[in-house]
């Protein structure tokens, strides 16, 4: 934003599946690559009526029963009007009463099978609980962060600062728009979206204090592996030379994989619970939760200390008899290796692909968790799919041509996410990747050291707000997909067969923020006053298609169907039922969301085309 009245702070917000964090750069005290950066301790409830300042805000929302808490127990330092709790207290209270706890709202926000604006959470709440929508719970987390900032910085109102909110690189346009909508509803004035793996790389650049130029060189392809609490996000960023300057170019992003550190803890807890059951002790739901918690710290011990062979686990009793009622067991290295290393990070070859099995008949409407837990298989699929990602950069800017590689060869790896505090997991991924590279005669990839694994995304987002003002290197790349709408091809209808469709490109790959695509030549007839739906597709590999490109055939890997889009032409000045020819026009806003507009023939009017986020049964 070229606003003359520049704000003092550039604020970065990591809106995570399990935790949020807020970091800021004080631009008045920063100069060049020397930045003055902090992390806001977020005031939040940690118990009934108890307020503490913590670096992370757990992304949980608790909706208490009216009789459950004393009046005043939900007050915050800035308000006595709260009927819900957000943060640490919500997390701990909700563990014992899950029917009133909203968790993983972010995963619901990008779940194409449900209406994201409908009050559907908690998913398994009884009718009397007033549910909230995935959008609304995100609004509440973001509102809490704004209020905590304003409470701590009364002299620098949040709404006047530059805000960057991070999202998974794999978020589709609808989820991006919902995040932007949540931020606006939470009172965020000037907000920009940033992909989390990019934020992690920005944080690494900022932390190196200028030294990063020595650690990467022109021609490097950096693979960012970001495993959060609930999602795994992959991105490729090329280091190229353009007009004599080092430039970072994000060339590809992975698919949306709902798989993270929490799944690992849960998997371990089930392993241990099975062991207990074999010994005759049946863990109930409460104990399983306690076991999950105990497994998390046992996992961290085993993964960080290779000398330890087993960690004792104690599941405390629920009653006041602590010694008599506790369950004792242990987590062994063999179990950990079997579950985490072989289950989540198996040593596969580069041709491996995630297994997907057809969902059995009627599935309960829950989150679409990744069916294959093997993160290395997802990685192999990603690198294989993106083998041609560098075709357009090759030669011109220091990038070597791909040759006859079967997958894209990264030369450096940056890790993000708490699970990579473990050297074992880092080694496992590096080892697997380097085996793939060695098999194709390529040099091993380097590990980029010195990443801040917990707060990197928030810190990187704040730093991005600072470099946007032209004070540091920026990652370019634009949109990581091309977008298409389906049009029925003009072929004679065959009874019993769906008419074949063609895909028309409406937004090309790599559109930067604040740019518009050209107007396509094709026109569509919109019926005035009636919503018209279009099937909508995205492609993370078709980099060459331009606006107006019409595809007759495409591989199953090439195009992914997204949610439908819906255009409604209001009746003002026209007759209802009249058919008006329109063109579809795409632009990427400054905030980083994709907008589609319908432009009626011969006018300057523009009507917004909505992403249909109400979910459809077959998604």
């Amino acid at each position: 934003m070229s606003d003359a009245r520049q704000s003092r702070y550039a604020i970065g917000i990591d809106l995570g599946t399990t935790h949020c964090a807020l970091s800021y750069v004080d631009t008045s005290a920063s100069d060049g690559e020397k930045t003055s950066q902090g992390v806001l301790p977020i005031a939040q409830l940690t118990g009934p009526g108890a307020i503490d300042n913590l670096d992370l805000l757990p992304s949980f929302l608790y909706l208490p029963h009216p009789d459950e808490l004393a009046s005043g127990d939900l007050y915050l330092p800035w308000t006595g009007q709260r009927e819900f709790a957000v943060g640490e207290f919500a997390r701990s209270r909700g563990a014992a009463t899950p029917i009133r706890l909203v968790s993983s709202a972010k995963s619901w926000l990008c779940h194409p099978g449900v209406d994201r604006r409908a009050a559907i959470l908690p998913n398994d709440a009884p009718p009397e609980v007033a549910r909230v929508s995935p959008l609304e719970s995100s609004v509440r987390y973001l509102t809490h962060l704004r209020e905590a900032w304003d409470h701590a910085h009364p002299d620098a109102p949040f709404s006047e600062q530059d805000i960057t909110v991070t999202i998974p690189a794999s978020f589709d346009p609808a989820a991006r728009e919902l995040t932007a909508e949540a931020a606006e509803a939470a009172g965020f004035g000037r907000m920009t979206l940033l992909e989390e793996p990019q934020a992690a790389l920005y944080s690494w650049i900022q932390k190196s204090g200028g030294d990063w130029r020595k650690q990467v060189k022109i021609g490097d392809i950096i693979l960012v592996v970001d495993v959060g609490g609930g999602t795994t996000d992959l991105s490729l960023i090329a280091v190229i030379e353009r007009e004599g300057n080092l430039e970072l170019h994000r060339v590809a992003v992975g698919e949306h994989i709902l798989l993270g550190g929490d799944n690992m803890d849960l998997a371990l807890a089930h392993v241990v619970a099975r062991k207990l059951a074999a010994a005759g002790t049946q863990a109930d739901a409460w104990q399983l939760r306690a076991l999950t918690y105990a497994c998390r710290s046992a996992k961290e011990t085993l993964l960080s200390d290779p000398a330890t062979d087993s960690v004792p686990l104690v599941v405390p009793s629920r009653g006041s008899k602590l010694i008599g009622g506790s369950i004792r067991t242990e987590l062994t290295r063999a179990e950990l290796t079997q579950t985490i290393l072989e289950g989540f990070f198996p040593q596969v070859d580069s041709a491996a692909r995630p297994v997907s099995r057809a969902r059995a008949g009627l599935t309960q409407l829950g989150l679409p968790y990744a069916q294959d837990a093997g993160i290395t298989r997802h990685l192999a699929a990603f690198l294989g799919r993106q083998v041609g990602a560098l075709a357009e950069l090759a030669g011109t800017s220091g990038i070597a041509a791909a040759g006859n590689a079967s997958f894209l060869h990264p030369t450096a790896v940056l890790f993000n996410g708490g699970v990579f505090k473990s050297p074992l997991l880092v080694e496992r991924i590096m080892g697997t990747l380097n085996n793939w590279l060695a098999a194709e005669g390529a040099a091993p990839a380097r590990l980029l050291e010195g990443a801040d694994l917990d707060l990197a995304v928030a810190r990187g987002a704040a730093y991005y707000g600072y470099v946007r003002r032209g004070r540091g290197v920026r990652i370019r790349g634009g949109t990581a997909r091309a977008y298409y709408i389906a049009i029925e091809s003009a072929m004679p209808a065959v009874p019993g067969l769906e008419p074949p469709i063609q895909a028309l490109c409406v937004a090309p790959f790599g559109m930067e923020e604040g740019t518009e695509a050209e107007l396509p030549a094709q026109e569509f007839g919109l019926v005035v006053g009636e919503p018209v739906h279009f099937r909508f597709f995205g492609s993370s590999v078709r980099r060459q298609d331009q606006v107006g490109t019409l595809l007759d055939f495409w591989g199953p890997e090439e195009l992914q169907e997204l949610e439908e889009i819906q255009a409604t032409l209001p009746a003002s000045g026209r007759n209802a039922g009249e058919v008006v020819p329109v063109k579809l026009h795409a632009r990427v806003t400054e905030a980083g969301t994709l907008e589609l507009e319908a432009v009626p023939r011969g006018t300057d009017e523009r009507w917004k085309v909505e992403f249909d986020v109400r979910g459809n049964a077959n998604a």
């Binding site: 118990g47 009934p48 307020i51 503490d52 004393a70 104690v314 405390p316 602590l322 010694i323 506790s326």
Partner: protein
């Protein structure tokens, strides 16, 4: 000296106070008698001259601070919540084996440690290893170093550290709402 013309109410109170003091204090009664008989005040009397001399001013009794129970209750609540501290201490451990107690102690230890580290910054008073010899110069802080054993002579004192001591540099207890009842350090839980 004082008010030369006290009010009526003031005089009542003076009269009543004087009445009782005359009854209880013979010397005072004699002075009043002398005053009533038109004599001069006691100050002019040939009583032993008051000695403004160096009568050692009595040390004012130290003001004892009343410890606020709120912070203590809050800490107990945190230790119970995160470490099951009260459960552990209140349980009768006679009938359990050391292995059972050890398993529970591990949980209590983990929780206590997490609680202390979260809410306090605790450092050793002395950074030297225990057993190493140190010299305490004159004017050392007797509150943070306790001399034991053969405590004679004058500073500097030479000795060895038998315990490094602990000091709290920072306390970060959660703030509590006014209405919060701190005495309930762990609410009873009723599963519905």
């Amino acid at each position: 000296m004082t008010d030369s013309n006290p009010s009526f109410l003031g005089r009542i109170s003076l009269a009543v106070g004087t009445f009782f003091r005359i009854l209880g204090d013979g010397e005072f009664a004699a002075e009043v008698l002398r005053l009533r008989d038109g004599g001069v005040a006691a100050s002019a009397a040939p009583a032993p001259a008051p000695t403004p001399a160096p009568a050692p001013a009595p040390q004012p009794a130290p003001v004892l601070k009343e410890a606020s129970p709120d912070a203590a209750l809050q800490l107990l609540g945190l230790l119970q919540r995160d470490a099951r501290f009260i459960d552990f201490v209140e349980e009768d451990i006679k009938s359990y084996s050391d292995a059972d107690i050890g398993a529970a102690a591990r949980l209590v230890h983990d929780g206590c440690r997490a609680t202390l580290r979260e809410h306090f910054t605790i450092r050793p008073v002395r950074d030297e290893a225990e057993g190493s010899r140190v010299t305490l110069a004159e004017g050392f802080d007797a509150a943070s170093i306790r001399l034991t054993g053969n405590v004679v002579g004058r500073a500097p004192f030479n000795g060895s550290i038998s315990h490094r001591g602990w000091r709290v540099d920072e306390v970060r207890l959660p703030k509590l709402a006014d209405s919060h009842n701190a005495k309930v350090i762990a609410p009873a839980e009723v599963e519905l």
